[in-house]
């Protein structure tokens, strides 16, 4: 019955070409209408994504503004660039090129203990170096002032003061170090191929102690080191960052195509 009906329609179309053309146009219009519906929903999604992106960028700008208004030094980590910039009140003090960026989460016996808190686009505060940069201060107790100003002559006779060391001589930089922030984020700075010049035994010893440190940190119930960012820098940049990083530094990780600076 259906076959007969179809053959009847086709036969009629074959006999009347004008009817066939109008049927084809109708079919195309129907297909066009059907395909329009999903595209409009895609446009909706695009609009929502744009909105989300804009909201995110606005929030980031707000946080950056918040940082510029305070007297603390801060680091901006821009994974898109990628670079790490030391800043103060909106002024760029030093920019370090980031060669590699990884995120580490603790796990215990292969079970992940991932912290669900957002850490991107959030201000982390009180960043301190670990191991700390120790300042070896020279303490001098002045001799009592001589009457008549003869002390200067006595000083001249004494040995000339030793030339103080350069910062490179003064501060030995560890092969890897961390900047620990309160509330659980830590940034591990590793120079690229930092271990390349050391011997096998030294590397093994470093790995062994790092592994035990990681085990202890992962098993700790507090949220210290809940998220670790591993940043790989040029060896010179890593050294410079360790020697120059001011105390109580803050950090903002710019994420999600941050606004141009």
């Amino acid at each position: 019955m259906t076959l007969h009906a179809h053959s009847g329609v086709l036969g009629r179309l074959a006999r009347r070409p004008g009817l066939g053309i109008s049927a084809a146009i109708g079919l195309l219009l129907a297909v066009g209408a059907c395909s329009r519906a999903p595209s409009s929903s895609a446009a909706d999604d695009g609009g929502a994504t744009n909105g989300a992106r804009l909201e995110h960028r606005t929030a980031l700008l707000q946080r950056e503004l918040e940082l510029t208004g305070e007297k603390d030094f801060y680091l901006l980590l821009d994974p898109a660039a990628p670079d790490l910039t030391l800043m103060l009140r909106g002024a760029e003090l030093r920019r370090f090129q980031v060669l590699g960026l990884q995120v580490g989460y603790p796990r215990v016996s292969w079970f992940s203990r991932r912290d669900t808190r957002a850490w991107q686009g959030v201000i982390w505060s009180n960043g301190e170096l670990d191991p700390p940069r120790l300042i070896d201060r020279i303490v001098v107790t002045a001799v009592e002032a001589a009457k008549g100003g003869d002390a200067g002559k006595a000083d001249d006779a004494a040995e000339p003061p030793a030339i103080p060391p350069t910062p490179e001589e003064l501060y030995r930089v560890p092969s890897r170090f961390r900047v620990r922030f309160s509330d659980g984020l830590s940034v591990e700075i590793r120079p690229r191929e930092g271990d390349a010049n050391t011997g096998r035994f030294t590397r093994l010893r470093a790995w062994w102690s790092a592994k035990w440190g990681d085990v202890a940190a992962a098993m700790r119930s507090s949220n210290r080191d809940a998220v670790r960012l591993r940043i790989i820098l040029n060896p010179k940049d890593a050294d410079s960052l360790y020697r120059s990083l001011p105390p109580a530094v803050r950090l903002l990780v710019l994420s999600g195509s941050p606004p141009p600076r």
């Binding site: 929502a48 606005t58 503004l65 103080p164 003064l170």
Partner: protein, 281 residues
Amino acid sequence: MEPSPSLPSGNGTAGPDARTDKPSPVPAAEAPGPALDLSPSVTPRPAVPAAGPPRRLGPIPLDRRTTLVVCAIAGLLLALMWAGTGYRYEPYLEAPLARASDGDRTETGDRKQALARLRGRERQLAARLKTTAPRGVYVVIDQTLNRIYLKKDDVIMLEAVCSAGSGMVLKEGSGKKRQWVFETPRGSFEVLSRSQNPVWAKPDWAFVEEGQPIPKNPSDRLEYGSLGEYALNFGNGYMIHGTLYERLLGRAVSHGCIRVGRDDLRKIWASASIGTHIYIY
């Protein structure tokens, strides 16, 4: 009762020949029977009790081999757990964006309005952020590495060595027992005044350090030439100035001021004016 031939004669107590380190299980005096031989060489060892059936934990026999296997498996498990404890690093990924708060609920017109509002807000914040950045020339000093940078709109115009505060602590041996720490302060400053051929009015610590009496006449405190050709004062007695000891540039030797070499100081002097920002980290 005749004494046993193997036993020393007499009262049945052990003589010097029969003395052993280990006490005899049965005292000789109470030894039953005459033919008891207590010499160490022939003393029969106490019979080892016949080994019974091995202890079992359910169907598993608890013999030595099983214990070893169990220990090995436990050690392996512990090692496996240890290997799986620590930190797992993965490449950095952007966090997924949260949906816009206006979401799908709003009509197209409202959404457009919301987007326009957000764009306006973004532009406004970006403009505010731009105003916080220093305009024109500014000075950046790395006081640990003893480097000074003259920058203009993030472009480095000059990089030079300098000398920042040594961090030394000076204690007054007598009198008021005061103490000074020779550190360069960190933070954001501005050039407050500029002076050519500056004269240094030596503070108390300069005399204490040299072991000289502190003068009562202010004119006795003045020292000419020691600050170089120029000085940029940025507050609390701290200055960027020249030095007589250029060979020490690059080392932290100053009392808190920033010492710069003559040629670099000339360039800084030419670019910096009152109000120029100085950032020290």
